[in-house]
């Protein structure tokens, strides 16, 4: 018993947010009088997949003590780019995907290099990047989005394998993969260490800059994957489909216990964080305030969760 207590005390597994998640689900079930079937819940999870994927990227950026405000526009960009390249022809899928993800790698590299080499605030750099991307896709499309995605591509968002939505399977697989990378690999450990203190990491002989840059590249590429999946949902090129994902991804990470100081947080926490946001937003849709409600909940959730995290940290000191 004692040892279990010890284990719970020192684990970094975010039990609290899972409890919160369960409470949310129960509340959802009660408020809809139990008419919600498991498949309905799976459908909600399906629609959560793009946010789930981009939130993992955001978590990684936060873990190295940064922040990526360009993930939303990156998703919008990927939607426009891949839809226009593929434009309904399954044969173009590889090219469309490669071009989209290639651009994401570039974006992440530029973010990371400017942040580390010029020691600039991550939020400013990524915010400026977000504007540049926005201008870029406006110029690319000349304001008129064009192109659509074939059925075979849309399978990643719309398809089902038996009772499981394909999108959820992809999301969970990526989650498992990244979780193992962060927890079990040398790279993951170094990432946490660098996030906790880049200075100490440098003193310990780590290539701290390289680790930070890689984190931004990961964040961008995951935003790219999320953008591809989002495009598969939407089916066509459409302006600004990713905008809301920037703040939602931060909110999801923060609910999951990721702190802004770096080095603190887990992907295991981000997962229920994403689900909580998505369930909350489908509640808002039921209430008929989906658009406004989204902003209200984003604002409230981020402020309250960060305040709570800060309070907890102060108490532990």
């Amino acid at each position: 018993m004692q040892s279990i207590k010890e284990k719970i005390r020192y684990t970094n597994f975010p039990f609290g947010v899972y409890v919160l998640f369960l409470v949310m689900i129960l509340a959802f079930l009660f408020s809809t009088n139990g008419t919600v079937s498991p498949s309905h819940l799976l459908n909600i999870a399906r629609s959560a997949a793009p946010l789930g994927i981009v939130a993992m990227g955001q978590t990684i950026a936060l873990l190295v003590g940064g922040l990526d405000l360009s993930v939303g526009t990156t998703m919008s960009m990927v939607n426009l780019v891949c839809a226009s390249i593929i434009s309904g022809d399954p044969g173009n899928i590889p090219l469309g995907v490669a071009a989209s993800l290639g651009l994401c790698v570039l974006i992440g590299l530029v973010n990371g290099v400017i942040i580390t080499k010029f020691k600039m605030q991550p939020f400013l750099v990524t915010m400026a990047m977000s504007i540049v991307i926005e201008g870029g896709y406006y110029i690319y499309t000349q304001g008129i989005p064009s192109g659509n995605l074939p059925e075979s591509f849309r399978f990643i968002a719309e398809g089902w394998w038996g009772i499981l939505p394909v999108a959820v399977v992809i999301w969970v697989c990526l989650w498992a993969l990244l979780s193992v990378v962060l927890r079990k690999t040398v790279y993951g450990r170094k990432l946490y260490f660098t996030g906790a203190s880049a200075k100490v990491a440098k003193m310990s002989g780590y290539h701290a800059d390289g680790i930070v840059i890689s984190a931004y590249v990961l964040a961008s590429v995951l935003a790219g994957v999320a953008g591809l999946m989002l495009s598969a949902y939407v089916g066509v090129a459409s302006m600004g489909v990713g905008t809301e994902y920037t703040l939602n991804s931060i909110a999801a990470a923060v609910i999951g216990g990721t702190a802004f100081v770096g080095g603190i947080g887990t992907l295991e926490g981000t997962f229920p964080g994403v689900m909580i946001i998505v369930v909350l937003q489908s509640l808002m849709t039921i209430l008929g305030i989906s658009n406004a409600g989204q902003y209200l909940s984003q604002g409230l959730i981020i402020a309250v969760m960060v305040a709570l995290n800060q309070y907890q940290m102060k108490k532990r000191r």
Binding site: L67, I114, F118, K119, M120, Q121, F123, L124, V125, M127, A128, M129, S130, I131, V132, E134, G135, G136, Y138, I139, Q142, G143, L247, I250, F260, I289, N291, A292, G293, Q294, Y295, L296, S297, Q298, G299, L300, I302, A303, V306, A307, Q310, Y311, K314
Partner: protein
């Protein structure tokens, strides 16, 4: 000018030089630019940005940032558009609502920063989102109308200048005097230089920080009123670009993101430079889409330039 005031004001010199150079070159090259109508248009456009930039500038001087100005501006336009239709009393009431909402948002920001230790960026992004939600509930899309008497007053000219730009200049004069010549202003610079040391010197840093965010919000509310006159309606999204633009204007004007360095005058020049860039690009027939890219690059580039310059000085 004596003491550190001189040095702070000096930070604005590069932006002034750039602005003058831009005006000279543009008026030599382009007859459309020289047009009096165009110049007044630029001034009116810049007035809104200049007012937001002065709000942003004070927060940057204490080493913070205020992203919530964008939603406060949108909220301001909505207040004026919803409540100012008929009488002068209504106009004043709507202005008070706009400014009051801004101040209240600022209060939440300030308390979040001081009491809860939330990073300024995060708390102001949160209040930005929250207030945007409220804007969208009040006015899901643009609408309403602005009192015609009020808007024609704001657009009327005294001498060569619009009332709106004169009011903007007046705000700058007041803020300049407060920042450089009062104890409150001195405290702001002290906090920006080193909060802990300021506290040790007997300055009530927490109170001052909250006050700065409140003032920043209130001034952003005024900017919202200005903007409502320009667009003649209320709009829940119209303020969105101003958060980023105001930071850019302040940074171009030589205000350090780390706090304690720079003068509001720089923000004034910065606001005009950004507005001019838009205007020139429009006149040259460059797609407005390029302006996004230009804005992003200008922000990062001027930050880099100042960063490198200041490092060399040390």
């Amino acid at each position: 000018m004596t003491g550190s005031v001189k040095k702070q004001v000096k930070q604005a010199v590069p932006s002034m030089v750039v602005l003058i150079a831009m005006i000279l070159i543009a008026s030599l090259v382009s007859p459309t630019f020289r047009n009096a109508y165009n110049i007044r248009n630029i001034a009116a456009q810049a007035a809104v940005l200049a007012v937001v930039a002065v709000a942003q500038c004070k927060v940057l001087l204490i080493g913070g940032i205020d992203m919530s100005v964008s939603s406060i501006i949108s909220f301001g336009t909505i207040m004026v558009a919803m409540f100012s239709q008929d009488t002068a009393g209504q106009v004043i009431f709507s202005i008070l609502l706009a400014v009051g909402a801004g101040a209240l948002t600022g209060l939440v920001n300030g308390i979040g920063v001081v009491k809860f230790g939330i990073p300024a960026m995060i708390i102001t992004i949160s209040t930005q989102a929250f207030l945007k939600g409220i804007c969208l509930i009040l006015m899901p899309s643009g609408g309403g109308s602005v009192n015609t008497g009020f808007s024609s007053f704001m657009r009327s000219r005294i001498g060569v200048l619009n009332v709106s730009i004169i009011l903007a200049i007046l705000i700058y004069v007041i803020v300049f005097a407060v920042l450089h010549y009062t104890r409150f202003g001195r405290n702001i610079y002290a906090i920006g230089n080193g909060e802990v040391y300021a506290e040790q010197s007997g300055i009530k840093t927490k109170k001052n920080i909250v006050l700065i965010y409140v003032l920043s919000g209130a001034i952003a509310g005024i900017a919202g009123v200005f903007l409502s006159v320009r667009i003649s309606t209320g709009n829940p999204l119209v303020g969105d670009s101003y958060a980023m633009d105001s930071v850019a204007a302040a940074v171009v004007g030589g205000i350090s993101m780390n706090g304690g360095v720079g003068s509001v005058i720089g923000a004034f020049f910065g606001a005009f430079i950004l507005t001019l860039i838009n205007n020139i690009m429009n006149n040259m027939g460059i797609s407005p889409y390029y302006q996004y890219i230009a804005k992003g690059i200008i922000l990062v580039a001027s930050l880099m330039i100042f960063q490198i310059k200041r490092k060399e000085m040390k």
